[in-house]
């Protein structure tokens, strides 16, 4: 059971939330000119890292707000919670989570 700290409500059980997939996926800037490959990349292709993953969650049975989490997909450790539109302060190029 994950314990997730909603930026608006505080710490709640995982069962309050729903997972929304990878964060920071940008829609093609000029959709009318985007190739099939660019659309496929936007719609379907994912990083799927083993280690640090930036992902979206929604507090479905609480405030119903979306937010971001930086989480390790192997240990399930939640390293950082940050709001929509923000960038994570945790960075990793190796795929492994570095603690702040």
């Amino acid at each position: 059971m994950l314990r997730i700290k909603c930026p608006w409500c505080g710490v709640r059980d995982q069962t309050d939330f729903q997972f929304g997939g990878e964060s920071h996926i940008a829609r093609p800037e000029t959709p009318e000119h985007a190739s099939d490959a660019e659309w496929a990349n936007y719609l379907y292709f994912r990083k799927n890292p083993k280690g640090l993953h930036y992902e979206r969650w929604v507090h479905s049975y609480g405030c119903r707000q979306w937010f971001n989490i930086a989480r390790d997909t192997l240990t399930h450790e939640i390293i950082e919670v940050y709001k929509m539109g923000e960038q994570p302060s945790t960075r990793s190029d190796t795929g492994k989570a570095n603690k702040k």
Partner: protein, 414 residues
């Protein structure tokens, strides 16, 4: 290699079972192979077997980072069926089911395939309407399926509680579906592949790949560097990591799917029972354990354990339907890491890299596809073009938009 038979069992019994030969060799990796397959699970071993036995490619290595069949091949709930909605899926999985029907003879290993039927039940009138359509579509694919009434279900499973929360309205059954022993399938393929000359190299993790001119040349492993003419990635869970070593990105998300077994009891459940609505599937293994699965943990994870909330949901669903199991104790619980594609259909065949082939995206239902997956991938690798059954399951479908949006992929809603 000695053939397994009633006679060999009898003869070895007389000598105290001291003279059985090794089931497969434990070779030192060579520097070069015609084909290197990454992953000694069901799909990797079956591919090696069909390459060596039917395609004449015997200089093959299967690399495994852990032990043979220790990933999802040993973690699934052993169900085989072909009750798929779309004709593409129906044709592929029916091929697999037919291979399962003769698998024990084919690989001289008793895989204990028991065609006890796979029964999907409906817990709402709307679902019943959908299932009538689904059962009809399966029949149109030329595959057996039969609608069952409440009485028909009660006759099949006398202990079922039809008037549970979300009462049972009916269901449909594929009588040719059933369960087999998953270890036997991997062991049987490994034994025959090894006898045909395939090197199965365990404790050998691929840590990197070299490529030039859109070709993979060598793989770096924990047991040295190995070159090959062709490579196949047949790993479950870690497809994204392996593909990234070759510079390839995949439409895959890895999520854990749990399963669990109870203590063994006498035969009580004679069919595989699936409810998509309250989300549980259950069967009884040959050892008497009640094998239970259900919904996946719906977030990215490489941890092979799963979370408690999903386990609770599976149990609630099971005990609503079969309250008789309420006092059984759970013996084991585990999870496998599943490669999920956006359309819940697999990706099998060629990749943009010329000599790299892939078998991935089997999601929550790869076990049933092992024979056909191995057969068709071996064909694809030798002819360098997708086997007819695999043509709809190519990686480029995510660009062309020809998705096979298979809600039936695990018999449940996704």
């Amino acid at each position: 290699m000695n053939s397994y038979s009633g006679f060999s069992l009898f003869r070895n019994a007389l000598t105290g079972h001291r003279h059985w030969s090794r089931a497969w060799r434990d070779p030192v990796p060579k520097k070069h192979y015609d084909v290197v397959i990454v992953g000694a699970g069901g799909h990797g071993l079956a591919t090696a077997y069909y390459l060596a036995k039917y395609q004449g490619v015997k200089n093959v290595a299967v690399l495994e980072k852990g032990y043979l069949g220790g990933g999802n091949s040993g973690r699934n709930t052993q169900v085989s069926r072909s009750n798929y909605f779309y004709p593409e899926s129906g044709a592929f999985y029916e091929h697999s089911l037919k291979l399962f029907e003769n698998l024990a003879q084919e690989i001289n290993f008793n895989v204990m395939f028991s065609q006890r039927g796979v029964l999907a039940i409906c817990n709402s009138p709307h679902e019943m309407e959908l299932y009538r359509r689904w059962a009809n579509a399966i029949q149109m694919n030329g595959i057996d399926s039969k609608i069952l009434s409440r009485e028909g279900i009660k006759k099949l499973i006398p202990h079922i509680n039809l008037d549970c929360r979300f009462p049972v309205y009916g269901g449909f059954i594929q009588k040719r579906g059933g369960i087999s022993r998953h270890d036997a399938v991997t062991w049987g393929y490994a034994r025959q592949a090894s006898a045909a000359g395939v090197d199965i190299i365990q404790q050998c993790e691929v840590v990197g790949m070299d490529s030039s001119d859109s070709r993979v040349t060598t793989v770096h492993t924990t047991r040295g560097t190995i070159a090959a003419d062709k490579f196949a990635l047949c790993v479950a869970g870690h497809s994204s990591q392996l593909a990234a070593m070759a510079g390839l990105r995949l439409p895959i998300t890895s999520i854990p799917l749990q399963a669990m077994v109870t203590e063994p009891v006498r035969p009580i459940l004679h069919t595989c029972l699936v409810s998509a609505h309250i989300h549980v599937y259950v069967s009884q293994s040959d050892r008497g354990e009640i094998v239970i699965g259900g919904g996946a943990d719906l977030y990215n994870s490489y941890a092979q354990r799963g979370g408690l909330p999903v386990q609770h949901e599976n149990m609630e669903a099971l005990l609503e339907l079969l309250p008789i199991f309420s006092r059984l104790r759970l013996m084991r619980q585990w999870a496998g890491v599943c490669d999920m594609t956006p359309d819940v259909s697999p990706i099998v065949g060629k990749t943009p890299i010329d000599n790299l082939y892939i078998s991935t995206g089997w999601g929550t239902g790869g076990y049933k596809a092992i024979p056909a997956g191995g057969d068709t991938l071996a064909h694809t690798m030798v002819h360098d073009q997708a086997h007819d059954l695999l043509k709809p399951f190519q990686l480029d479908r995510f660009e062309t938009g020809h998705l096979i949006d298979e809600g039936a992929a695990s018999g449940v809603a996704h």
